[in-house]
């Protein structure tokens, strides 16, 4: 792992791949999918899936508990309809999560950062380094326990919306430092 990223070549500052992270981007199968392009993609920590699954299971349990409480205590049957819909939505999300996590990746190119995600709905965003206004790292209690963090890139456009979840904490900090340093050297007007 390099300690001082070279601002002229941000690719050297990107974290070194380890077993900790996924290694292959999951793509849609269709022949006319969006190409991945050249260069290595960095991916999320495998622990990200664990965190997401725990989160969704808790939500599912809460929904079930709320509906059952209403039914057993007040003999109300109507909560089964909204509760059932919510339960189904979160269940589908839970099932899809591991695949989705493997579709998320980012790439540090010479002048921009490329972020991709999604299988059914593919999305690739490129953010020139000079446009970065700030880089945010957040990690909740569960994230801290798992040693992962979420990185958010903020530009002057609200619609940019690049949020990289579930990075290994060390990678996240290293990436932030690299990005800030590179952004500083290539700063342009708004």
């Amino acid at each position: 792992m390099t300690t001082s990223p070279d601002p002229t070549n941000p690719a050297t500052g990107s974290p070194t791949p380890t077993d900790e992270t996924f290694t292959k981007i999951l793509e849609p199968r269709g022949a006319s999918r969006l190409p991945l392009g050249n260069g290595a993609w960095r991916q999320l920590s495998r622990k990200y899936v664990i965190g997401q699954v725990i989160g969704y299971v808790v939500v599912l349990l809460l929904i079930a508990a709320a509906v059952l409480t209403l039914w057993l205590m007040f003999e109300a049957t109507w909560p089964f309809i909204p509760g059932g819909i919510l339960f189904a939505i979160f269940l589908v999300t839970l099932v899809v999560t591991p695949r989705q996590a493997r579709s998320i990746g980012y790439q540090l190119r010479e002048d921009d950062l490329v972020f991709r995600r999604g299988i059914l709905w593919q999305r690739m965003v490129s953010v020139p380094y000079g446009r970065l206004q700030l880089v945010d790292i957040t990690h909740g209690p569960l994230d801290r326990m798992l040693g992962i963090a979420q990185l958010k890139l903020v530009t002057a456009a609200a619609s940019t919306g690049v949020t990289i979840p579930g990075l290994p904490q060390r990678d996240a900090e290293q990436l932030r430092d690299t990005l800030i340093e590179v952004a500083e050297t290539r700063r342009t007007g708004l």
Partner: protein, 562 residues
């Protein structure tokens, strides 16, 4: 400043702006107060409400005052109560004390509300108990808006809003006399773009003058329009009232209005059971459409756009006049549209995205997007040249963008297989990447051309949903600052889209670094207008901007421009 100054000037002496750059004595680096009438206007709404309550309570008494014969009013009002209980003296004292307190509050608020313009920033201090101190660094100023609400115009006042970069980052100067506001605005803009005027002749700001002459001046001004001191060139687009009315009648809301009326007539003829609720719903809708149309009309009347020494200057509004100045290079996206029925007149409308610096909750934020409310193609061409000086705008380019496709126009269009989802527009749907900007055109019935200057592009997105994947298509979106313009082009061949996405990103990086290496200091507004005279003979071709300033030496090194 007088020795009554509630807060002595801070010890560290702020650098006064260079005297050559300012014309108003208000921008000399010292603290100044707002116009003495401003607390009244700022509290204007409250005052109207209080007067309204008083009138409502004393209505009967007022009526009987004017109708002296035995006009009876039944219920007791507060005045009767006071008179019957012998509390007249106390009541008068209470009212007097209340008035004095009110005036004292206004007076203190006024004394504590000060501003100053230094060589580096614009600062405003206000509040008595809770002091607020706002500054706008001049190198971050995105523009200065001059707004003249109807009430303030009557007494000859205006408010200035210094637009900063960021949400809710604006500094407001409420209120200054109109003449002062105009010169201060010029000063701020000139300082912001680092201009040094050769002409240092300071002109005296208008003296206060008695209120009556102010009101007459205000009224005559409402009729005549803002009296500029002649330094600013004339508007390059003139919108005749007849065209405004026609365009309003042909706009989208009118179509809906007609549909509602037709539905109502059909309903009355057929008289089905649901006619009553349907009519009940359509009447408020009709009123809403009418109010919208009238508002739109009032807003766009007396529109003008002109190049000035500090950027593009846009003015509009009949009752509340808004003057906005966009420094060069602050336009983040441009959108040219033609509503369905405007095709008949060949009219277009231009909107832009720019940093407005207002908080999202600000109600007036939406109105600032229109740069050209209605104009012919020639008008569009002139306005575009003003807004995007780096782009070579000509008739052929506009023709391809607005009416295309044309042979060999260079646009990458949708493949024929996009017919399934875009039966009408697939031939026209297209994107063109130039070194300075990305052009996206779409829409057959509602033609639309979006221009995204590459130097302002924040990020680029390439996306594809399941249906688009089946058809081998993809969409490209250029992200800019918030605003009415949305730069998305759908249904481009997926492989081409990927190449374009890469090309746009690279071009954006190149454009941004080229710009920061060579700051465009307002030279941008010096544009040639060869055919302006031939296109619109009644309007005099804008006089070439006299070189008010020498090309400035940038105050800081170019790399520090953020």
């Amino acid at each position: 400043m007088s020795d009554l100054d509630p807060q002595p000037a801070p010890l560290e002496q702020a650098s006064a702006p260079p005297p050559a750059a300012v014309r108003s004595e208000m921008s000399d680096g010292e603290w100044h107060r707002m116009h003495p009438l401003s607390p009244l206007l700022r509290g204007g709404l409250t005052l109207i409400v209080i007067i309204g309550i008083l009138v409502a309570n004393l209505r009967d008494r007022l009526i009987s005052f004017f109708l002296p014969e035995n006009f009876r009013y039944g219920e007791e009002d507060p005045v009767d109560f006071v008179l019957q209980n012998g509390l007249a003296v106390q009541a008068i004292v209470a009212v007097a004390v209340g008035l004095v307190i009110l005036i004292a509050l206004f007076w203190t608020a006024w004394r504590f509300h000060t501003f100053r313009i230094t060589g580096d920033e614009v600062e405003v201090r206000s509040g008595v108990l809770f002091r607020t101190h706002r500054r706008a660094p001049l190198d971050r100023v995105q523009g200065v808006n001059l707004t003249r609400p109807a009430l303030a115009r009557l007494v000859g006042l205006a408010k200035l809003e210094v637009v900063g970069a960021g949400l809710d980052a604006n500094v407001k100067l409420e209120y200054l006399s109109t003449r002062n506001a105009e010169t201060v605005r010029g000063d701020i803009l000139r300082l912001a773009s680092g201009h040094r005027t050769k002409d240092a002749a300071s002109r005296p700001a208008s003296a206060g003058g008695p209120l009556t002459s102010r009101v007459t001046a205000g009224i005559s001004e409402i009729i005549d329009g803002v009296d500029d001191d002649g330094a600013e060139p004339e508007s390059i687009v003139r919108v005749p009232i007849s065209r405004l009315i026609l365009a309003g009648l042909l706009s989208g809301s009118t179509i809906w209005f007609v549909l509602v009326v037709v539905a109502a007539i059909v309903g009355l003829v057929l008289q089905p059971i649901w006619i009553i609720p349907a009519l009940g719903a359509s009447i408020p809708a009709a009123i809403g459409f009418g109010a919208y149309a009238v508002r739109q009309f009032i807003k766009t009347v007396r529109y003008s756009i002109a190049p000035s020494s500090a950027g593009v200057r846009v003015t509009f509004g009949l009752l509340t006049t808004v003057t906005e100045t966009l420094p060069p290079g602050r336009v983040h996206a441009v959108d040219i549209r033609q509503p369905l029925l405007w095709r008949w007149g060949g009219w277009y409308r231009i909107r832009v995205n720019k940093l407005s610096g207002r908080s999202a909750s600000d109600a007036s934020a939406a109105q600032m997007g229109d740069v050209l409310p209605i104009g012919t193609q020639a008008d569009v061409e002139r306005v575009l040249r003003l807004l995007l000086p780096s782009l070579s705008v000509d008739a052929a380019m506009l023709d391809a963008g607005l009416r295309g496709p044309r042979e060999g126009d260079g646009y990458v269009t949708s493949p024929a297989r996009a017919r399934v989802i875009d039966p009408l527009t697939w031939r026209r749907n297209g994107i063109l990447v130039l070194p300075q900007a990305v052009l996206m055109r779409t829409g057959r019935l509602w033609p639309k051309l979006t221009i995204l200057p590459l130097a302002r592009m924040q990020s680029v997105r390439l996306s594809q949903g399941p249906l688009a994947r089946r058809l081998g298509l993809a969409a490209i979106t250029g992200h800019t600052v918030m605003g009415p313009v949305n730069g998305t082009i759908e249904s481009i061949d997926h492989a081409r889209a990927y190449e374009l996405w890469r090309a746009i990103t690279d071009a954006a990086v190149a454009a941004a670094s080229a710009e920061s290496a060579q700051p465009t200091d307002g030279n941008a507004v010096e544009v040639e207008w060869p055919e302006a005279a031939s296109v619109a003979p009644p309007l005099a071709p804008p006089a070439p901007v006299p070189p008010l300033w020498v090309p400035p030496a940038p105050p800081t090194s170019p790399t520090e421009e953020r």
